[in-house]
Symmetry: C2
Subunit: 346 residues, 2 copies
């Protein structure tokens, strides 16, 4: 197949990724793992795992078994934990792969024991009511004979100052006293900032590794990892009154030069950016005008009149700011980045 250079790029900063992991690790004495599910939050799990492994990370969390399989040549498979549990048909392949299941229900514990078992993790639901064994489902013999490494739970509201955090902490600490395990783990990125008593033995940040600001306290410390660049495909001078894009939503107030840029909602740059999105060129902000198309965005280049066909511009993608202006979460802004980008790691 003939390979063309894609006209849109993600610049991915491996040093920032590692610095973010180290910052999160420094918040306490617990070991710091990494959530690399959803292909490393859209950035590329293999590149993320390689860099964090080299920095000293030893615990990687994915959602699906296919995601574990896709990184299992990069680290010892027992460093990989699969959050979304097990299905009977998968068990022989799981044992062949050697990654560690997070068992989420009494039924999964029974299946795992019946299959011959081996090392496993268990998720306890302490109040998010999503995945995990509820306190009411724990019986005295449920964990007997289980080779239990990590006892996990997950915080529902760690990004807020919310009494639910302390309530979940109490439940988890109480339950953990009665269950024999090697390690305990509760906190995601935001949870790490709630204090060392939320850390237990192992934390497992995701969002903030990738530059997301999970809580405001980290805004000065977490570095951006992702930048978007795309080529200008066309520059044209429009007249006052000319309308731009689908349904003519933008009308030129005056004569102005516009640039048509090679990215769009099929790349994850959703239509929600039409109102507040912008590009940058040499410090000048170039507002998105008109609707975002599937493969194209139009920008006002009045402030950068030397831009021409073939030039690259940066699409501004500060996660916290873009989240606030589009109503999309920082998580969605990362995980929806599409496959057409040339992902370039430095």
């Amino acid at each position: 197949m003939i390979e063309f250079e894609p006209p849109l790029r993600l610049h991915l900063d491996g040093d920032a990724l590692v610095a973010n992991w180290r910052f999160l690790q420094r918040q306490g004495k617990a070991a710091c793992g990494a959530a690399v599910k959803a292909d490393g939050y859209g950035l590329g799990a293999r590149e993320v795992v390689t860099r964090l492994r080299d920095a000293g990370c030893r615990d990687f969390f994915v959602a699906h078994w296919g995601e574990a399989s896709a990184i299992a040549d990069l680290v010892p498979p027992e460093w990989i934990s699969v959050l979304n549990g097990i299905q009977p048909a998968d068990i022989p392949l799981i044992q062949q792969l050697g990654a560690i299941p997070v068992l989420n229900t009494p039924n999964q514990i029974t299946m795992w024991k019946a299959s011959g078992g081996g090392k496993c993790h268990v998720m306890i639901d302490t109040g998010i009511n999503r995945l995990g064994i509820g306190p009411e489902q724990i019986s005295s013999d449920l964990f007997d004979g289980l080779e239990l490494d990590i006892l996990l739970s997950h915080l529902a509201s760690a990004d807020e100052d919310n009494e639910q955090n302390a309530a979940q902490l109490v439940v988890f600490a109480d339950i953990g006293q009665d269950i024999i395990c090697m390690r305990r783990s509760l906190s995601n990125s935001a949870g790490i900032m709630l204090g060392a008593n939320y850390h237990f033995d192992l934390t497992r940040p995701g969002l903030s590794l990738y530059g997301g600001i999970a809580r405001l306290e980290m805004a000065g410390s977490i570095q951006p990892v992702v930048r978007l660049f795309a080529r200008i495909l066309q520059v044209r001078q429009l007249e006052a009154g000319d309308r731009v894009g689908y349904n003519g939503r933008f009308s030129c107030p005056t004569q102005m030069p516009i640039g048509t840029v090679s990215t769009g909602y099929a790349d994850g740059y959703l239509r929600a950016f039409a109102a507040n999105g912008s590009a940058s060129d040499q410090g000048q902000e170039l507002p998105v005008i008109g609707r975002v198309s599937m493969d194209l965005v139009t920008i006002d280049i009045s402030m950068a009149p030397s831009l021409k066909e073939g030039d690259w511009v940066e699409m501004n993608y500060d996660l916290a700011q873009a989240s606030s202006s589009t109503g999309l979460s920082q998580y969605e802004l990362l995980t929806n980045l599409g496959t057409r980008f040339n992902r370039r790691w430095t």
Copy 2:
């Protein structure tokens, strides 16, 4: 690499795809092409091209050269048109590939002529002001020596009853009289429904091939192509007052069974579905409750109490209805469908 069966599937109906193409073709005497950019609007360009080729489609439109390269073994390359123009560095590879460029600027026409040329298409901008040569940029000798197959333009407001449609039609018809070309093409899915005078020689629908309702007139004729299915990973009985999901946004009004389903916003099932999304099981509608997570959605299964861990449910994904309830366009609902789905064509 060990292959696991993904816990989430797209059921893709090849017969519906072909029936939609035939319906669009029947609206007039023009040939009917197919927009297969953005990986066939997220469904899989290779599968789409194969089926439409076998049904008789001879013109396939992509945005990027990499997208042309990815399907060039399936059809004669000259059946593939690349909408987003040319860059100087790509020209040797373009000539090697043999797909046909859509030239969008006077500069691209000059470059193409200088490179030795060959068959090409030209996009005229008749009012969307996004890509294409503006009427004011056309000089008497611009097209001299060009082996021009299709003269294209693109409608901005074909999904509305808007005077812009007739205005664009008049401009395109006028310009087309002065330019020597083999074929002329103006209409996307919605444009086809504006009447045969919008069709010229070739139409190039996208959205409605894939089940999208580009205009209400087609609602009874266009068939859905995509259905989403995902496994239930866990079933649990909750008590009145229990809160579900991130930030505890949903509070159980009474005792109720919930199911946790294996899809989330990383798969394109965005958080906008939290308020109005639902699953289906045997005709029962099972509302999404709480926030959509990255890999998980929680649903109220009170109406389907026999559902259990490991069962599959359908996530309701009627494009027009989901667009109306989420504020996302039908296009975004298709193109954001993620890579973790097992895409199963029938």
